[in-house]
Symmetry: C2
Subunit: 341 residues, 2 copies
Amino acid sequence: MFNPKENPAQKQSIEELQARLNRPMAELTRFLENQVEAFEPQIRFLVDYCLKNSGKRIRPSLVFLTGKTDDPEIFKNLVQVSAVVEMVHLATLVHDDILDGADRRRGQPTISAKYGQHTAVLLGDALFSHALHLASQFDTVEVCRLVSKSTRRVCSGEILQTFRRGDWKLDQEEYLEMLDMKTGELFSISTHLGGLLSGYSSYDCEILRKFGSQLGIAYQAYDDLTDFIGDETKIGKTLGTDLSTGKATLPLIQLFQMKNQDATDQMTEALETANEDKVRFLLETHGIFEVGLDFVAQLWNDAVETLSELPDTLTAKEELNTISQLLRMKLDELERSQLSA
Amino acid sequence: MFNPKENPAQKQSIEELQARLNRPMAELTRFLENQVEAFEPQIRFLVDYCLKNSGKRIRPSLVFLTGKTDDPEIFKNLVQVSAVVEMVHLATLVHDDILDGADRRRGQPTISAKYGQHTAVLLGDALFSHALHLASQFDTVEVCRLVSKSTRRVCSGEILQTFRRGDWKLDQEEYLEMLDMKTGELFSISTHLGGLLSGYSSYDCEILRKFGSQLGIAYQAYDDLTDFIGDETKIGKTLGTDLSTGKATLPLIQLFQMKNQDATDQMTEALETANEDKVRFLLETHGIFEVGLDFVAQLWNDAVETLSELPDTLTAKEELNTISQLLRMKLDELERSQLSA
């Protein structure tokens, strides 16, 4: 059903890729552990809790796969910048969990649930500040400029989403813009900085940035789909929160986009009466999950297409293509679980 | 009662000082207004609301009084850095008001009260990020380094305060450390950056930093006093919030420090039963407000003393001394209102 683009550059297997990431990830873990000491003594246990409960580290992976990890000097910088991006991401998660009232994240109680909203607001702020402080330790101000601008855009995306809570008739264009701000932004800064710190041309950096953004959009759309059709025990976080927190995401947008008056009326009523079972039933009846999977696959295709604009001599091209296959595999898995449900 | 230190450098009157600040403040206002455009279109009205509702701008005053505003190139930098510090301060206020559940700030509804907690968390984040982005626009990374470190320390101070909520037996040393983190930090970065951008020696910058920190501590202790004995219509913000949000501040600390068993028992009971009238009555009976005013005057004296370490040739010495007199005048006024109450 997917018709993924064939990519001649894809020679590397996922296993090779994971092996390739072992050393950078171990360095990142060590680097992050050392950062705990930089915080004021009384709050270190909170920082430690956040950093230990770190997830898939997709953004650092993007930094490492884009950058020249073989050069010791560049590698050092890549580790530091991946820590910056990951810490900004963690700060947004700490704040998100307040807004969503989420109890669990990556299988563990959230800071907000465990230590209260006040602490979560302030700890998120402290993590943001420290991330920017790490960014300011490069010789060039460029890193700080890019990271602070990205961070602001991520927050603005979240504000937009907050404003649109309870408005189920979001159109697809606005939805995609939000995905770009919320998730595309940090993905794109990861690939951009990986390239910048490795001395790539500004043309290549722009393409890397575009790829990051598109992959981020595809990933977030996939994530929004799993909120409806995922398996909570597998995914390790509270699912179904988008509906309960009034967020219109891919499936709802696509149902309303069908312009089927009967489906629209029934869905509107189901949403107004907060009838979750009815919402799911309607989405299933109208084949929305399949449509959604196809849509994400198309977003994913766009990203892979962008990669092809990079010169073949760039090692990053092959490696980023391999990591993008991971998303494709996840999509396949979600489709299979959907078919067997 | 106060015995303020005589300071030979104080030749400038408060009026002269205010006149001197007119142009920089007008420039700062213009600069901040222009920043609104830098934010994503959909959130500009929120940023505008925050920036318009700007208060006394003490931190920018400190930047301008410390720095060489006569030099056009330096002046441009001072305006930008004062915007950075003010924006960090505004971000902390937006987040503070969530934590305190405060309805009004500077006579206007708070962002949290007007647009909800979610928006307030995210808007504070966006303001933080933009402040750091402005800091990253200097040629040197030094500004970004100092600001991001200060910001983290301010947040850590707030976390400490959150942890100690409801613990009325805070000792004076911990209290002063918190004041330094919460308020001294941004005051000290203002004087420090004013000096740094004006090319002062690192020795002078260190003294300026120390003075800023001490003035900030004195100012916050004064602010904590007004929370008990101030006039809400004059001060323009919700008072009495420290008690209702469980914060032990100067008056309570000083009552417990008397080691008068009877007073301690009665106060403990009044606090446990949330009997605000009884708390105030006990503080008054034991002359705590007078003790508090004396204590703040002493903190203020320390700051003025530090100023005297600066070379007499530094214009900043005279001007900072004059601004520090403003705090002294406020203290006098608070004392008079206390005596006439």
